[in-house]
């Protein structure tokens, strides 16, 4: 049994220690807002926060989570910055298919919590998740709006 704190709740999980956090969230705990896209740290669809840091959960073995608190998209609106990010996403109608957008919102929230007024360079550096629907410009505009 491994103990986890996710979105402020405590869970005990029975899974192999090398199981990626992504699949524990999705399949064991039913938190399916976090998405599987590539499994190899390429796409960022699986982005969650570990102690506030944007982290690709497909690369986080269960055994390495330890005491770090996990925040997923399901709780993002409970965070003040997260709520602003979501409102900007809605206002600017960012998503197309939407599949990458949980990860994009998580990455944007982590960026704005650390750097409330990011430069264009900060946005390029932090927002590296793939979007096959090509919503990159709308994403950048929404990050700017959420920071304003």
């Amino acid at each position: 049994m491994v103990n986890l704190t996710i979105n402020g709740r405590h869970y005990s999980v029975d899974a192999e220690p090398d199981t990626p956090l992504l699949f524990v969230l999705r399949d064991t705990l039913g938190l399916t807002g976090t998405k599987y896209g590539c499994g190899i740290a390429q796409c960022g669809a699986c982005t969650v926060h570990l102690d506030g840091q944007a982290t690709r959960s497909c690369q986080v073995p269960l055994e390495s989570v330890g005491n770090q608190t996990v925040t997923t998209i399901e709780a993002i609106e409970q965070d003040e910055v997260g709520r602003k990010v979501v409102e900007a996403w809605v206002a600017l109608q960012v998503p197309q298919c939407g599949y990458c957008q949980s990860g994009q919102v998580m990455a944007a929230t982590a960026l704005l919590k650390q750097t409330p007024h990011p430069t264009e360079g900060d946005i390029v550096d932090a927002m590296t998740n793939l979007c096959r629907c090509g919503t990159y410009n709308a994403i950048a505009a929404a990050v700017r709006q959420a920071a304003a």
Partner: protein, 740 residues
Amino acid sequence: MIPLLRPAAPSRRRFLAGAGGALVLSALLPARSARAEAQGPAEGAGALAPKPGTRVAAFLEIHPDGTIRLLSPFVEGGQGIATGMAQIVGEELDVPPSRFVVECAPPGPDYAVVNGIRMTGGSFSTRSSYETMRRLGATARDLMIRAAAAKLKVQDGELTTRDGVVMHADSNRSLSYGDLAADALKLKPNESVPLRDPATFRYIRQPVPRLDVRDKSTGRAVYAIDQKVEGMLYAAVQHAPRLGTEPKGLANEAEVRAMPGVHSVHRLPGAVAVAADSWWRARKAVEALKVEWTAPKASGLDTVAADFSSEIMLAALKASTDPGQVAEEKGDVAAAFAKATKVVEADYEAPYLAHAQLEPPSAIARFDGNGTLDVWLPNQMPEVFQTVSAKVAGLQPAQVRIHSPMLGGFFGRHFFYEASNPFPQAILLAKATGRPVKVLWSREEEFARDAVRPLSFSRFRAALDPAGQPTALEVRTVGEGPIGRYFSMMMQTPVDPSAVEGIVEKPYAVPNRRMTFTKVAHPVNIAFWRSVGHSMNDAFYESFLDEVAQAGGQDPFALRMALLQGNARHRTLLSTVAEMSGGWQRGPYRGEGGMRARGLAMASPFGSETATIAEVSVEGGEARVHNLWIAFDPGSIVNPAIVKAQVESAAALGLSSVLFEQIVYRDGVRQSQNYDTYPVLRREHMPKVHVSIVESGAPMGGVGEPGLPGVPPAVLNAIAALTGQRVRALPVANTKLSSV
């Protein structure tokens, strides 16, 4: 595009002519009366053989709280069709689109609103169903008014509606649609209700917010991959390294069976599978399986042979001497070449492409005690998947329920492509285990089995007169398109329209033309891929046209204008895109950070028209695109915000394909396994995209795909203007560009 989907409705006879695709065919011709019976009695006499798109109860559920559930004929995958349908129906029904909950309807003859068939593709949804769905909304509104008239004991004509309420102004009484729905649906619908005057539209042509955006921004949107049913097993697969080979022996089956959580190990057509209590455990186990596969043929192009490669395929296309079939012919090409002062020739080629939609494909199959089957799966054509599911399960189609969740991107990925879809595996595994089974393909298995945009080849020749004007154009296209592969029974000539679109039916007045198509089949699973034949053919044609301009000493913009003499629609688009970009200038010129140049291209995809300008620089041997200006004329529109977003999305995919993308086969095996070996457009390569909608009033065209085809050639033409290098083999990443 699919030829039968041109405005004239297809005849049953034409469907039945030709051979092949029997499964697809039977799915497209649903047994109407039996199906309608199974759905029970509905409103009035039309119930037994519904004319698609007319039976209000099949589409609308009006709830007491004023919300409306709309069962849409179309699946939402980012193109905004759910919102568009709510706008169109809501406009006539007089209910704000924001009150709609839109879901993809189950299979059924009511939903065959795309000229008699059902599909989400070909950029067909809105333009094919616009009138039908308006009429449906208007018919439903009329039912509400009549039900209210009966209740209030007044004449229909004394009643008005507003936002889901019927009002009687004289007596100051009103009834909500929710209160009227039960009575209204018992009435016989009026055959011809008047439609709203477009001048009074409140929702159509407005940038109505999308219905799914909040859910998609908060992780609440549910895709196929997110679904779960009680008691299900998770399955992962390992496909044969080469399509067409089969599992022979499993060296370590007992060992794998003993791995944690493993339920069972299975052999499937062209694959092995492990079912387990979690997907991660299933995946680890299936990847640990040591499988011996049957041997492929040593060589040849009828199967994926041991030595099959993209290179061998391309060589076969180039080497074919079969004259093929005429796809377009005008004037006397031979005479024009005999008189030419100059002849320009060039070969163009494009690689296989993966869809690389971000949601990996999955499917859940569940047999119920009463001999029926439920399947949850991503799909663009529910009736076809129902028919195929039934065949795999040994059931009748009416015993199969298809659930079509929202798609995490599709771009043509979710048609039926035989071994390239996971749902037959889910059905076989559910049968074998006696449990519901969810099959999910890892990203690696998806790159291994996705059906691919065909590798393509065309040879161009142009004759020029002394003034540098093209007098003749000859194009020889060799290969295969997805319509010929999967829908050959719909083709009216041996020319596969999906192989030649973008090369034929161009608007330019070149007096003598001859385009041919020679079929050479691919041994791999080929696919529709956003904008299909246009995705490479417009790149070839428009790039070659710039070569012609150069050979004739003409400016590419001036040459196009000259070839469009008297063609107001296209000339307007060209002038619009030039104005948007601050006036046409080819360059090279000095821009921020170095030299830049611009390229121009036009395309006529899916009933719409585009003119595109790309601005490019070269950094470290690679192309950088800074701006794309796109003038887009789809005739008329429903939602300008969605149209602009779709054009930008299509442009991004076009740019991704021209710069980076390729599936390369070597020794019968694809060389890409994941996004690290199949690079797609990333943020740092995303240009500014400027879209201007021109509503010419021409018949409504498509929106989801047409933004794409102009982008690749505009980029190629800009690169040529900047570097003098004419890239004729895609993607551009395979060519080292010279610095300027």
